[in-house]
Amino acid sequence: MRRDVVTAAIGIVVMTILLGLVYPLFVTGVSQVAFPGNANGQKLFSGGRLVGSRIIGQSFARPVIGKNGKPVEKEGETVTEPDPRYFQSRPSVTERGAYNAAASTFSNLGPNNVATREADEEHIKAYLELNKPYLPGLSAATTPVDAANSSGSNLDPEISQANARIQAHRIAAVRHMSLAAVDRLISSYTDARGIGFSGEPGVNVLELNLALDRSHGRASP
């Protein structure tokens, strides 16, 4: 027994040094040298300014400006509305604003709950308000599920191709571009399936929006 206690006490300390310090420091150190971009979160810059991570989703809503020329606040949070010039990400329910990447969370909305139906209805309504003027045939039935359902991480960097093609009508009109040009940009920022078969293709919203700004400037709202 005594022998076991001594071995256990030494063992846990030795293992903590080996597996808790040496191993993570080695992996992190080598990664910093071998894959600095990935290891640091694939930062994207625009005009020298850090505008996000390629693989963390963002909100493309803008602050609502009140009559006094200042952003409107409600309960301490800035009120926002979707910016029609940009492709919109999937709905996000993170606390203190959508796409809060310091506090990832599941929505935990159950399959048979009224709260889930209400959330879906609200997201569909917002999606139709934003896109229907540019695509009159759009309805709840033709709204892609990813535009109505919040994601797992609520930081999903992607939307489905169907979702992007619907929003393309709005982008083309607001930015005075041809639909074909917008669709071409969508194709260039669509990530294919993993190793040819795993998962689903998705459109990277942040990259696509940055490309829009680069190629066509910031159109007036």
């Binding site: 063992g11 293992m15 048979n112 489905s160």
Partner: protein
Amino acid sequence: MTFTGWLTIALFAAILTALAIPFGRYMARVYTGERVLLTPIFAGPERFLYKVMRVDPGREQDWKAYARGLIVFSLAGWLLLYLILRTQNAFYVPHALNPLGFHSAPWNVTFNTTSSFVTNTNWQYYSGETTMTYLSQMVGLTVQNWLSAGVGIVVAVALVRGIVGRSGKSLGNFWQDLVRTILYVLAPISVIGAFVLVSQGVIANFSDYLTVHTVTGLTQTIAMGPVASQEVIKELGTNGGGFFNVNSAHPFENPTAFTNFFEMMLVLIIPAALVFMYGRMTGNRRQGYAIYATMMVMFLGAVAVAYIAEAHGSPAQHAAGLHTQVISGSTGGNLEGKEQRFGIAGSALFDTITTVTSCGAVNSAIESFTGIGGAVPFSNLSASEVIFGGVGTGLYSILLYVLLAVFIGGLMVGRTPEWLGKKLEAREIKLAGLGILITPLAALFCTALAVASHAGRVSISKAATGPQGFSETLYAYLSQSNNNGSAFAGYTGFIQPAAGNVGSHGVTFADLLGAFAMLFARFAPILFALAVAGSLAGKRVTPVGLGTMRTDNGTFVVLLIGVIILVGALTFFPALLLGPIVQGLTTHLY
């Protein structure tokens, strides 16, 4: 459903099998002390560790000595981890290891978390990016990711040695097995796997959280950290505790559909290889194939049900007017709580894999699965995680079921039950029976307490009305008793008003009841499994005759599946009826 969805599932099963067979052969060589490819690299460090830890590797242990080492070591790990988590800001910590100055979580939450990581459960009431410092994640949680996995694996190895043992009572040496597991099995895959993950976008840094100014004039804060080193062992050791709150749904933990596939492979490689190792060590590889077939049949059944159910969509979606069939450019289905890059198949497959094993990592919200889709994780847990199961725990648990199946089969044909030439007697059957019943006992007892008391019901989330509230509770204790760690994550034991734990408090009832479930249902079955091993080790082997019931053919596979389903169904069916089944059968919204 799509063709590529089914293709992913089929290819996954095929590649897993192709990798697990040679890896099982490798593991058999490691544990029988033969030379392997990595011996030249690790023989030196191995000897060094024995010397420092004062281990005499040649010293054989009977089951009691083996169990004593295991319990004392786990206790030491528990104490150190509790200390680390409770003092994460009590002394000087370099800025890079606690960039946001987080305080410690309260004692009750820490008690739960500590028990959780030492038992390979990794149930998380806390959220990583708002609770844990980088230092705690590294020297606290990552270490137990390795050690609890190692402890699980060595129990399986010891049980196999007992089953095949020809002489005396020895089961090997606990310390030697543990050191070998870490060096020869876990370390090589972890280091290489970590770099594979980083090459695909998993992060590995000690930076401050990023502050980003978005194109529309908003500010976004992005959590950072040394994720890769923890991510790989989280999957490989079937631990499942995420660096971030949303676990493998987080783009920094699981950035692409390729990493999703890779992580699923990491989760199942050791549990699958252990089965082939067992076959080799018994001297009859068909013994391993029979168990593998049993697991694979039940696994594929579970995946298929989950995929079909999730692709169909949920009643709430349909009530809101959404159409959930596949259309051009959209996967359709129930995408609530699922990431676009994984889609329906990649999410259903991942969550099935991590609930048949004791991993419990998730890449999509199980609470948002449809009734029938959610019943799949429930059923996996109800089968006590013998379909592959956790590293080691899966093998020793299914071997107890094999023992029971042999006994029942023997009774049916009217012969003395014999297994691999050893007569099974009352003692082994009693021990195996108890070992099997501990987990259901803990799960149902704790669920009953939690739904029957006010103190238990406060943990149910506000949105979980109707049967969802019961499902949340049952899942919480089923998951913790099975040392799984996945969750209907609305169930809470930790109230945290702001990041960094100032002003936070735990829900003592849920925290301690869960900790009890995890500790009791981890160590009691381990002791029963080791006792069975000790009891079998001393038995004489009689030659196989015409009257021996075979345990390596299709008939036995069917019998074994029957026993697993029977025990699971009889124990859990009434409880499952009240939760997921009623939700699966109705389109009513609550």
